[in-house]
């Protein structure tokens, strides 16, 4: 495998090549460091080259000594900067956490390291709040398929790094679409697992009942390999499921599979060019032998409102911990305790975080709780039950991943318009369902096909994505 092959290679082929001794981990990692340091699209937060090379040599030594290589042996990967990786700056895209270095590894990170992978970190929207990567106190990553456009968000840097070939896969977090939407915008695969499939220990919380640790990769088989390594029960997160993730055999076509096409897949705001790409994707599924039927998911048209009430309420609680005492920067303010809290948070949080914390505080406050938060939680139940009923008759539900292609940087300043852009990913998030965004094509500006499976059927979602888009998508060409 040459250096340029490695840029396009998926994680599975790199791991197998290193395990067979065809390439040393050191040479793979040295190439990846060169790509990360060039970083033409501003995706990388921190590379830590010496640490990576030390780890690579250690992996080579262990293999030479007869130790069995792990399933991700020697594979460089990227970690969104809201997942703790010991010694790395876990800034969450926020000025408030500038310079804060994690004292431990998130469970998902720890497991990928045990599987032989080699880490670095990527930029993101602040605390996972954004759909463009632009809500950040740091560099805003650009889309490798068109560098004048956003890569989506909030796992913006992770998507950019995978699409440009800096790394073959990356961890992101997906609360309302933050892995799937950037995957669609950048023309790569993105997996949001079933809520609880991957431990959230070490993921800086945004909205705990919605947060998941997800994967971005250039092949569907990599999603499966990474999920198998990262998932599983965890004594440090009681919501992490004890049910083992069992990979599925590759499907030979889609005979016998029924896809439901929900009304919300063609809802308001869907651009004509995305609708055309979706129609072509449905034709491709039918051509592979699948049956397509219309399904109705009640209340899906209220999903955006439901999500932004629930998620902001949970965020207002979770982000209360950032007060200048235990983490990050402190601003003294008027010298009182309350003054210090307020000055630290007001200085440290960006506009979108402030907006959501205020909204969440409002919907939880006395006099408004029943009308907003409690009501949204009940609508969430109706929507989740609606998916369960649909899955009695269909194997999976499909839609475009996002209603638009990647938009130009700075072109959507209105927060409400950005919220509405999450309309297609949010329903699965509210119901806790596994979903994969698979690239329809990567010629020009990509469009993603979202495949949503029943709760716990992550392997099915991945297998269907693999049948739809087999093989590995190429990394974007770097135009200098």
């Amino acid at each position: 495998m040459t250096s340029s092959d490695a840029r396009d290679a998926d994680a599975t082929s790199i791991a197998e090549s290193c395990a067979r001794g065809e390439r040393s981990v050191e040479s793979v990692v040295a190439d990846a460091i060169a790509r990360a340091e060039a970083d033409p699209f501003g995706a990388m937060a921190e590379v830590r080259a010496e640490l990576a090379l030390e780890r690579a040599r250690e992996l080579d030594r262990r293999r030479a000594a007869g130790e069995a290589p792990g399933p991700l042996h020697g594979v460089p990967f990227a970690i969104k900067a809201n997942l703790c990786a010991r010694g790395f700056e876990t800034h969450c895209g926020s000025r408030l956490l500038a310079g804060w270095r994690a004292p431990y590894d998130a469970t998902s990170v720890e497991r990928l390291l045990a599987a032989g992978a080699v880490p670095r970190t990527t930029h993101m929207d602040e605390f996972g709040m954004g759909s463009s990567g632009e809500n950040s106190a740091y560099e805003v990553p650009r889309n490798p398929r068109d560098s004048g456009r956003t890569c989506g968000g909030s796992s913006s840097g992770s998507a950019s790094a995978v699409a440009s070939g800096v790394v073959p896969f990356a961890l992101g977090s997906d609360t309302g679409g933050s892995v799937r939407q950037p995957a669609a915008f950048c023309g790569v695969f993105g997996l949001k697992p079933t809520w609880g499939r991957v431990s959230r220990h070490g993921l800086v919380a945004f909205a705990s009942s919605l947060d998941t640790v997800g994967v971005l990769a250039r092949s569907a088989r990599d999603l499966e390999r990474v999920l198998a390594a990262a998932s599983g029960a965890d004594g440090r997160d009681a919501t992490a499921t004890t049910t083992r993730f069992e990979p599925r055999a590759e499907l030979d076509g889609l005979d016998g599979i029924t896809f439901g096409v929900p009304t919300f897949a063609r809802g308001d705001g869907l651009r004509g060019d995305v609708a055309s790409a979706f129609d072509a994707a449905l034709e491709r599924l039918a051509g592979l032998g699948a049956r397509l039927v219309d399904v109705e998911i009640p209340q899906a048209e209220h999903a955006v409102a439901t999500y932004y009430v629930v998620a902001t309420a949970e965020a207002s609680s979770n982000l209360a911990r950032f007060d200048g005492v235990r983490y990050g920067e402190r601003v003294d303010g008027d010298g009182t305790l309350d003054g210090m809290y307020a000055a630290t948070r007001t200085h440290g949080f960006g506009d979108e975080v402030v907006r959501r914390v205020l909204l969440g505080t409002h919907v939880l406050s006395s006099g408004f709780y029943e009308a907003w938060f409690d009501r949204a939680a009940r609508v969430r139940r109706l929507l989740s039950d609606g998916f369960d009923r649909a899955f009695a008759t269909v194997d999976a539900v499909v839609s475009p991943t996002a209603p638009t292609r990647a938009f130009e940087l700075g072109s959507v300043p209105d927060p409400l318009e950005l919220y509405r852009g999450d309309a297609l990913t949010i329903p699965a998030s509210l119901a806790g369902l596994p979903a994969v965004s698979a690239p329809c094509d990567v010629e020009g500006l990509p469009v993603g096909l979202q495949i949503v499976a029943p709760r716990g059927a992550d392997a099915l979602a991945i297998a269907l994505a693999r049948a739809f888009a087999p093989g590995s998508v190429p990394a974007a060409e770097v135009v200098r």
């Binding site: 997160d237 992490a240 920067e329 205020l358 909204l359 408004f368 409690d374 409400l416």
Partner: protein
Amino acid sequence: MAERRPQEGLTRDADGADATEVGRVARLARLAPDEGRTARLASDFERILSAFESLQSIDVDGVEPLHRPLTGDGIERGDVACDDGALDRDELLARAARTREGCFSVPRTVG
């Protein structure tokens, strides 16, 4: 379809979002936006909550709220201290803005 609930959306007297309401919520959230930022936030508040007002028209009578899409099979621990993987006190304190005699240090609140 259930009868529409009384307007409880934004302010108790349904006047729409204003700087006073944003100020009230900001104090609860330990935030202190300046006048200009408060005005912008108040405008956003009004538009966002108006757009979400459709939630009030959904019949949710008898529907249980969904707070966690749980499978319910995680590992629960006893409520006891656990040394396994516990972090070093000094290492944690080293990451705080200010410390004193092995504790987090904050502005004086009594006396």
